[in-house]
Symmetry: C2
Subunit: 352 residues, 2 copies
């Protein structure tokens, strides 16, 4: 079995404005004390299970940053962002041996316990190598989080410690439903990490997204020819913008899930997740940097170089950087991208 990690690094991280910027998206930032960027930490974990190098799929403007943070990677450049089905399909097209196992990893997640994590990665790869299954990673939920899709697990797969068949995928639920899911014990967070052979995922794409599959065949034929870049550009201009979950996994039958519970996973999806790593005061305010809180609770405050004072506020997010400050309620952190959209409309290149 040969394992080739594929790191998806084309994201813009707009929900992390004003820290995440077009020229330095979230995956190139550091959360941890060791100062390593999220993508570098991801690469380090991936290299522990990689048989022989790794791939990073990204966009042209981020190519330089990827090479800087993960110099050992082969970089595959998408001419335009077309969501995860296209990114994963493109990576698969580059696999010389279609029986090699592709380990798909987002570049911007946090994992605290690398050893537990890599053991599970190996189990997933081994399962995908033994059976023609599309293997997802399902995280045992610790709260009724409404920011994740859920996976309902089915029967345990014999011969593996943590593997189950999948009964169904569920989109992001409302709070009531999320509470039901957590109570049931059969539902897992869909982490966006996957293991499968290039052959298996291409076959699934052929079934569910045939026009993408046609494009990928054209790309595969053009690789290492002078037409390579122009074919990719042509194909990407025509294909659908759809995620691997919506486009493929929800429809196919041959899916499995590795149930994971204790590797300290965080998808760092928005400021509330990022703030898990801040200091917490008595009133439940999470603070990174220099701040005072007066009669305030449940706030998330990140400051850099300047002092932040909040008075009489509850569940508010204040993020301060060298050139911009964001203020929004905690329950609106998913909408921070709207600020970026407005700045985009206003052509505020200096702030994007």
């Amino acid at each position: 079995m040969k394992i080739i990690p594929v790191i998806l690094a084309g994201g813009q991280g707009t929900r992390f404005w004003p820290v995440s910027r077009r020229k330095l998206p979230k995956q190139f930032l550091s959360i941890s004390d060791d100062g390593k960027s999220l993508i570098r930490s991801t690469a380090d974990r991936a290299l522990k299970v990689a048989s022989n190098g790794l791939l990073v799929v990204t966009t042209d403007p981020l190519r330089g940053l990827v090479s800087e943070h993960v110099p050992e990677a082969k970089v595959i450049v998408e001419p335009e962002p077309k969501n995860t089905a296209a990114s994963i399909g493109l990576a698969a097209a580059y696999f010389k041996n279609l029986d090699d196992i592709m380990l798909v990893l987002p570049s911007d997640h946090v994992v605290e316990n690398d050893d537990v994590f890599t053991a599970l990665l190996k189990e997933a790869a081994s399962l995908a190598n033994t059976q023609p299954l599309l293997v997802t990673f399902g995280i045992k939920p610790t709260s009724p989080n409404t920011g994740y899709g859920y996976i309902r697990r089915g029967g345990a797969i014999n011969g593996f410690d943590n593997a189950y068949f999948v009964r169904r995928f569920f989109e992001k639920p409302n709070l009531e439903r999320a509470e039901d899911y957590v109570r049931s014990g059969d539902y897992l967070w869909n982490s966006g990490m996957f293991a499968w052979s290039a052959r298996s995922i291409l076959a699934a794409i052929e079934d569910e997204l045939p026009s993408l599959h046609e494009g990928l065949i054209k790309i595969r034929e053009a690789i290492d020819t002078p037409k390579e870049a122009s074919v990719i550009t042509q194909v990407f201009s025509e294909i659908e913008n759809i995620s691997i979950d919506f486009g493929v996994l929800e429809h196919v039958k041959n899916t499995a899930v590795i149930q994971a519970s204790d590797f300290g996973w965080n998808d760092v999806g928005a400021w509330d997740s990022w703030a898990e790593y801040f200091e917490v005061d008595k009133a439940g305010n999470k603070i990174e940097g220099d701040a005072v809180t007066v009669e305030s609770s449940g706030c998330i405050i990140k400051s850099k170089g300047r002092h932040v004072a909040v008075l009489g506020v509850k569940d508010l997010v204040v993020i301060e950087t060298d050139d911009a400050t964001l203020v929004c309620p905690r329950d609106r952190v998913q909408d921070v991208k709207k600020v970026v959209e407005v700045l985009n409309q206003k052509k505020r290149e200096d702030l994007l």
Copy 2:
């Protein structure tokens, strides 16, 4: 009649943190387009009615700033802040002729129509010169503001256009009562500006705050002697900390009020008043500087050199300066001084 304006400039402006600082309190800042500081504008208005110079009462740390902003003033230094009864009494002690009219003006108010204002100042001075009355300025209320004390006017005083006897002073009301006051038409905002002869106010202090009066007599005897500073220090260390309103005006009978309505007065008491001079967007956000608001209304935003973005918030105040940012709800602007108290406890001299 000789008119001597007395400008009270000892305030710390803590409700305007983080813009107002110990070393540069609010009265030395500019709100208007002309770039003039509040105290300079006050002095310019005062000089239009002054017979011959003016006095500024301040504290030792602000003495240099006062001389810089109002070089023509005689500066009287208080050894420690002991509220307005002490400041006004101290200024009165310096009056050579006790029949001269003292015009008491806070240093940090805004007046938009100088001509209307100075005409009313002259009327007040003339009234105080004709009768041994303590003359206040009452502003016709434009809203049921709960941040001001109110004056209930009595009968009109013959021979003057805008002068009334006072029926009663009222402390800051709750909203319901404030609405009653505004509806009645007989209630005026207590502006904290006054006209009286030095003799009249000293007599009133003698009746209501006899120990302050004793101290002022000692000071008056020590003026222009080597003991001047030490006597003032001694007296100030012993006297009560009380405002002229609570200590004197609410108790004496010989009070009058000049009713004023159209000189565009603003006491700039807190961020909501200051923001009267900001641009207003469609959602009622008042903004000075570079900011975007997304799904937000009723906010007050002041930024300097950096961009501020607010998302999904209502009636929030965000004030940003070079080294600090304040966030609080609009209805807590009076409590901004609490932030300063906390910074004081934390000995954050850099931010005070």
